[in-house]
């Protein structure tokens, strides 16, 4: 089986084009069957919601390609949002409050690094552990109650419109652009791929594997914190119960986009298409006024179908190669 960069790129491109096709088809189906699907209101709310999932997905791709896994992003987002809300309440300036939120992200990210990179704990378990811990701390901090936000900048993250498109969408686009640039042009990007596909070889080649992996987890956590700001902006308040299970949606988008869980290969564009697909699905279901549980069934079903196709395709590739 040829593992050259070129053939990996071709394989990724196939996944991406498949996703693009799926997106277009789904969009078409929804537009026809659901009245009110093609409406500005629907698009706006979907885009706003998708934005913060999207930002987390972009950086989750980064972590996954490096061979890691970060399931604490939801907890970080909520906790960071809380930190910001409480800081604003306590009279901090907007900038300081945002700084506090990002600081929370950095803190949790560092903790994840210590466990996964430092102690060598399996990232699934370690990040589930930190997710639990910080989710619980977040709830305990405010005793489960929400805190209202009245700072305009933060609120704008979630709801302001620039040329008719929610601010969040621009921020999400920026996030994806950033990650794409990292992979395309920087040494960090190549190193992430290297570490993900073969950490031993990377280490022997002189790469500081621990530093590269840590960077991935830190970026993941800080971006999750930033996403948390969008979340509270959109909600108008920091709700400690929010975003439960969001990491699974994030993971779904990334996997749909063709990034494997074993690391070393993946596509940022694919993740973006995955995010869009899930968002279109959500918006469509909303417009169809389908009961909430259809969301679950649909997400699960789409993921299963996508993975099956991917597996079948991989099997066929192996036989041929």
């Amino acid at each position: 089986m040829s593992l050259s960069r070129f053939s990996l790129r071709r394989a990724a491109a196939k996944q991406e084009s498949g996703l693009l096709a799926a997106n277009i088809v789904l969009f078409g189906v929804m537009a026809f069957t659901a009245s009110g699907f093609v409406s500005t209101a629907n698009f706006r709310s979907t885009a706003a919601l998708a934005a913060y999932t999207g930002i987390m997905s972009a950086f989750a791709t980064l972590v996954l390609i490096s061979g890691g896994l970060d399931l604490s992003v939801g907890a970080v987002a909520v906790l960071a949002g809380q930190a910001c809300a409480l800081a604003l309440h306590a009279g901090w300036s907007t900038a300081a409050a945002i700084g506090a939120a990002l600081g929370v992200g950095a803190g949790v990210g560092t903790l994840n690094c210590i466990f996964v990179v430092g102690l060598g704990i399996n990232p699934l378990i370690a990040t589930i552990g930190t997710a639990f811990v910080f989710r619980g701390l977040g709830l305990a901090w405010t005793n489960g109650s929400s805190t209202i936000i009245d700072d305009q900048t933060v609120l704008n993250f979630g709801s302001a419109l620039w040329f008719g498109v929610p601010e969040g969408t621009y921020l999400m686009a920026a996030a994806f652009l950033l990650v794409w640039l990292i992979f395309r042009f920087t040494r960090l990007g190549s190193n992430l791929y290297a570490v993900g596909s073969n950490p031993t070889a990377a280490r022997r080649a002189g790469l500081r594997v621990w530093r590269i992996q840590s960077t991935a987890y830190l970026l993941s956590a800080v971006s999750a914190a930033f996403a948390g700001l969008l979340l509270i902006g959109f909600q108008g308040a920091s709700i400690p119960y929010a975003a439960a299970g969001i990491e699974l949606t994030v993971l779904s988008a990334v996997v749909l986009g063709g990034t494997g869980l074993q690391g070393g290969s993946g596509s940022v564009v694919g993740t973006l298409l995955g995010v869009i697909l899930l968002a279109v699905l959500a918006a469509g279901l909303l417009a169809l006024q389908a009961p909430a549980y259809w969301q679950l069934i649909a997400t699960g079903g789409v993921l299963i179908v996508a993975m099956t196709i991917d597996d079948v395709r991989r099997r066929r590739r192996e036989v041929r190669g």
Binding site: L69, F115, L119, G120, I121, N122, L124, I125, A126, I128, G129, T130, A131, F132, V133, F134, R135, G136, L137, G138, L139, A140, N143, G144, L248, L251, S252, V255, G260, L261, P291, A292, Y293, W294, Q295, L296, I297, A298, T299, G300, G301, L303, I304, M307, T308, D311, V312, R315
Partner: protein, 329 residues
């Protein structure tokens, strides 16, 4: 416990209980002592039966989950399977079926979920983490759909089911007996039967197992089905505990179960693990939660404490493994 001297290496190998579990048992004892020192309500039969009930439905799931994990797989859909089985039970009972048939139906639905998981993870070969997350969504959605759409639960007043969940036998809650029986059955199977050996072999080295003629697909598939059956049984009990079938039942339990297993010494990569350790892990987390409750700690911190316990246990294990690696070479 026998001590056997290993020639040539001069190291003592303990047979029977693994080294890790001694530490865990000590931790449990210490926790019990600390809690009872701080509050008089811990060592109380009422409290113990609460504890027994509280750990039972997670514990039953943990028994089955251990089998899957040792076999090299993972099943994060157990919470949804439990809820779906609960819906099946409610369906049967509200349609006038006898209790036994309704329960059998609920378990059959659970087994079907397990078979579906097996089809995806074993038959097609989808990665277990993402695959069972997907089925978790799917089954949960189906549970809600079956339950009528909303979060409303169907009230069930069946006597047998209620007795199973709330009854007591010789002072010990029935769910605890059920949990212990499940652990006994699975533990025995794992230790003494050929299937149990195969589970370990497949989890440790799938290729070698296949070459040796072991039916890898059957073994893994069976493990997934057993796991789901345990989740189904749990779901049935939950209906009794909740007084009805709640579509949102057991959300998030899979992570506590995973924590219990890891604390008990089962490895995420498969091949090594202990059913007894899982029981200890369930117990440890149960005592922890119970203690925090009695000490008036915010219920939210309970969630955090499970995470902290998990991280602590796995950090200790990690450090010990590193030290062992150095010692060996």
């Amino acid at each position: 416990m026998n001590h056997v001297l290993v020639r040539g290496r001069g190291r003592v190998v303990r047979r029977g209980l693994a080294y890790d579990q001694t530490g865990l048992m000590i931790a449990i004892v210490v926790m019990c002592l600390v809690i009872s020192w701080k509050t008089p309500y811990f060592f109380d039969t009422g409290n113990f039966s609460n504890l027994g009930v509280a750990i039972s439905y997670g514990g039953i799931m943990a028994a089955g989950f251990t089998l899957v994990m040792i076999c090299g797989g993972l099943d994060l859909s157990i919470s949804s399977v439990a809820a779906l089985s609960g819906q099946a039970l409610a369906f049967g009972l509200t349609h006038g079926w006898s209790t036994a048939v309704a329960i059998a139906f609920a378990l059959a639905i659970a087994a079907a979920c397990g078979a579906f998981n097996a089809l995806l993870m074993v038959g097609i070969g989808i990665n277990a983490i993402v695959g069972t997350i997907a089925t978790q969504f799917l089954f949960r959605g189906l549970a809600y759909a079956w339950g009528g759409g909303g979060a409303a639960s169907t009230a069930i007043a069946d006597a047998t089911v209620s007795n199973l969940a709330n009854g007591k036998w010789l002072g010990v809650p029935v769910p605890t007996y059920i949990m212990l029986s499940v652990f006994l059955a699975i533990g025995f199977t794992y230790r003494f039967t050929r299937f149990g050996s195969n589970v370990t072999s497949v989890g440790s080295n799938r290729v070698a197992a296949r070459r040796a003629g072991i039916r890898v697909g059957f073994t893994m598939g069976a493990a997934y089905v057993v796991c789901s059956l345990c989740a189904g049984l749990s779901g049935v009990l939950l209906v009794g505990l909740n007084g009805g079938s709640v579509p949102g039942a057991a959300i998030g339990i899979e992570l506590t179960v995973l924590a219990a297993l890891v604390i008990g010494g089962t490895s995420l990569s498969g091949g090594t693990g202990s059913v007894f350790g899982a029981l200890l892990g369930v117990f440890a987390l149960g005592v922890l939660a119970n203690g925090l409750n009695l000490l008036g700690v915010s219920p939210f911190l309970k969630v955090a404490s499970v995470g902290a316990a998990l991280l602590l246990a796995i950090s200790i294990d990690s450090i010990r493994q590193r030290r062992r690696a150095y010692r060996d070479e």
